[in-house]
Amino acid sequence: MSHLSVETLVALRDPGTEPGEAAAREHLEACPLCRAEFERLHQRVARLKALPALRPSRERWPSVLNQLRAERQRRRFRTGGLAGLAAAASVALALGVSSLRPKDTGLDLAEIQQAMARSQVLESALDRIDPESRVMDGQTAGIAQELEDRIARVDRELEMTELMEQQARDAELLRLWRERVGLLDALVDVHVTHASNVGL
């Protein structure tokens, strides 16, 4: 038998994984050259483990903390905004949505109510997924972040509709609630897909 290849020697450190391992071990026992090479391999790995630890040259904790605080603020804003919107939606629904009632716009009141209800269903689904407690890869986190930012923008616009004329407001409300539903739908999709990809 010729001498053992580097590949075989490297594999012999993980016992029981390679075909022909028994023959290779037999050769290793009998061959001083291969034993010496195997010993060098072990020494090389020991030296790798003993390399001095490298340290960052810059302090990164303040950046981590800023990033964390910014995210918390976004979340608080979003939750606060949602609570306000949900309350407004409940009152409006209880009053027969008088303040939202389309007058001459031809809009179907039921459409706004449907969009609001759908939005609440998706919010509940999102709460059940609890995305904050899951580790996401950078790309997924980026997409989720983008969607959350867009939802936050829609929420701000929804609040601003209070200042609009009745007729324009009704049309805008319907547009924004629909947009919100679309974004929430996408966000739930992102989290559900991520959870299924990582086997959760």
Binding site: H3, L4, S5, V6, E7, L9, V10, A11, D14, T17, L33, C34, E37, R40, L41, R44, V45, R47, L48, K49, L51, A53, L54, R55, P56, S57, R58, R60, W61, S63, V64, L65, Q67, L68, E71, R72, E132, S133, R134, V135, D137, G138, Q139
Partner: protein, 184 residues
Amino acid sequence: MSRTIAMDSYLLADADSVVARARQGDETALEALYRAFEVPVYNLARRICRTTEDAEDVLQETFFEVCRSIRSYREEGSLWGWIRTIAASKALMRLRRNKYRETDELHEEVVGRRKDDTHLRMDLEAALERLPEVSRAVVWLHDVEGYTHDEIAGMMGRTPSFSKSQLARAHARLRRWLGEEAIV
């Protein structure tokens, strides 16, 4: 596993209490986690990434993820094992994003072929640095951090055979560059 659990108590004496406070969002506890694991995370990132800037970015991304996900840490394994896996994933993601060099052939194009490779004598640090990124990542994750080929394959989105062959190639190169005698 036992090595990483030992690392927990070595790096952070009161890990349980710190984690409990960190889960409540206590920023002092989160910073204590950062201080305890900053160097091993950076070291791992730096051994995998091409530049110090990339490694520092990975350090930041890792701890941002640790802070926002600490509630999902289930204490089934070691804290260091959990943080280390986040760090390794972030570092490998960065390699992918930067279109890493994964083959020796491409590496040769980049650094140029050197006929006198067999006579080179580098120190281990320089030889490790000279390896293609993917090979270096596999060497570090397998030989130093103790990940299996299956685990490395999972993190890299490749097969265990890919990981094994990268490791063998890396050792062949290291042996040559370190001036160790080769078997005929």
